[in-house]
Amino acid sequence: MRRFVWGRYWSVVKKEVIQIKRDRPSLAIALVMPLMLLFLFGYAVNTDVNDIRMAVWNQSPSAASRELIDQFVHTKIFQVTASVGGYRELEAMLDDGTADVGLVIGPDYTRQKDRGESAHIQMLVNGSDPNIARTAVSNAQLIVQHQAISLQEKKLEKQGMGELTMPLELETRVLFNPNMESIVFNIPGLIGLIMQNVTMILTAFSLVREKERGTMEQLVVTPIRPLELMLGKITPYVGVGLFSFCLVLFVGTAWFGVPVKGSIGLLVALSVLFLVTTLLLGIFISTVAKTQLQAMQMAFALILPSVLLSGFMFPRDSMPVVIQWLGGLVPLTYFLEILRGIFLKGVGAEALWEEIVGMGAFSLVILAVAIGRFRKKIE
């Protein structure tokens, strides 16, 4: 009596497949929405800063000062968008946002430089976007330092010191993402986030819809067991989710040019585990919510913290410990580690076992909770 009956489970699967096929709009959303989100976010969530707009107030026009400005432009990080004639004009441009930074070269610049005196230049930075401001300041410092060192070298050479070598040189090699492009880091995370959101909503509606339509009343007087019903309901969606995942994966690699360093097979296998976890999370929502609207709201209430806690937006390492623990309660956290590990580092299952166990444990717990919550009643 209490045993899991495959026949009953299979009946639910078949019924759900028919219903999904008849519900074309929902199916289209499940398949197309991930792609749309990938394109949307793929372009929007680009944290690389380049083409910082720079307004220049050059009070000492000369070959020397123009050379300095060229140094800024050569980096491709800055672009000169305006030439101004005073502080007031410069500040106005920073205020209305037509410039991100202002470069001020004083009237004495050329003279001081020729005489070998210390010359000063000033940079005004709009700090309202800290990301842009930080990039601007650190790069400006580098450029100016570089310029200063080469001036120093020339001066010493003139004094007859011959060819100079730097006493200290740092050589860096960036592993895994050599160009430090944020897209390479963001796309795997995006794939995880999108799959979570779309699949969770699919099943969040499933039981509530039966409650709302009244079909639950007939279902509940049958001998079906909650486990058979829930697994039967998520099974077809694992297929839908997997198809959609492969689509997004293909576009992510082909269109955005983010290669998968590790094993695609492992990636797909672990994605199935993740899909099952989020689908179960959706089912859990379905057991709590009374209406489809409530289910929708609950799904969003889970999605928002998962974006922040999972390390999608901000690195988890820099979060307070308590917040890191909370992140451990979000399955997306584990999946992001897995995705980035396989995409960027090409690691295998042995390096990811903690995440695999974490996600597996999470899905079992959420299934147990959902079954515990589900009553074969209609109150």
């Binding site: 009946s11 639910v12 019924k15 209609i378």
Partner: protein, 253 residues
Amino acid sequence: MSAAAITCQQLTKRFGERVAVNSLTLTVPKGSIYGFLGPNGSGKSTTIRMLCGLMTPTTGSGTVLGYDVMTQSEEIKQRIGYMSQKFSLYEDLTVEENLDFYAGVYQLGAAERRKRKAELIEMAGLAGREKQLAGSLSGGWKQRLALSCALLHKPELLILDEPTAGVDPVSRRIFWEVIHELAEQGITVLVTTHYMDEAQTCDWIGFIFFGNLLAEGTPQELIGQMGANNLEDVFIELVRREEARQAAEGGAR
């Protein structure tokens, strides 16, 4: 096994302050057709839902086919067929797909399933509509389909909540012929209805009002006791008396 298909003692259901079913005690003998009558909102559906295991009684006890409604609702569910007041099959599935789904859920083997489906489609006169979406069936046909689904697993007890509401007279007649046929095969039927001509053909009648069982007996007994001409008069007289009694009580308080 006892001779009663359903028994309940002091069965009570409260929704917050509202008492939907008040200390109901009744017995449905095996193999009989028991008509459960009462005005709108008197607690018929609530009683039925408690008996089916869809709702947990607030207090009281009851057995269905010898199983306790409080603790053994899964055993009960295996053995009863239920048709709810509101159509509750899948409207986006066809007639045949609905039957297939419930056949699977009740674990009918492939051969058994084919046989039962053919029998029930024949019985309900659904032949030719197998591929039609349940949602596009008219009221009477929906009810026939619901009955077929409730009968797939050959239940010993059939519980029907207003099966003929919104059904034309011809279909109602056919529906009740089926009910009597089933009773002859030994199936117990508990049925609610607002049609007194239907109630007249039941073996037993229970009359409920404001959650209280006011009268119980065969149709002839009730008509005799009340000195009425027919069941319709019995119904109206019972409601009138009960309302007068409650008004008097309210006035005395």
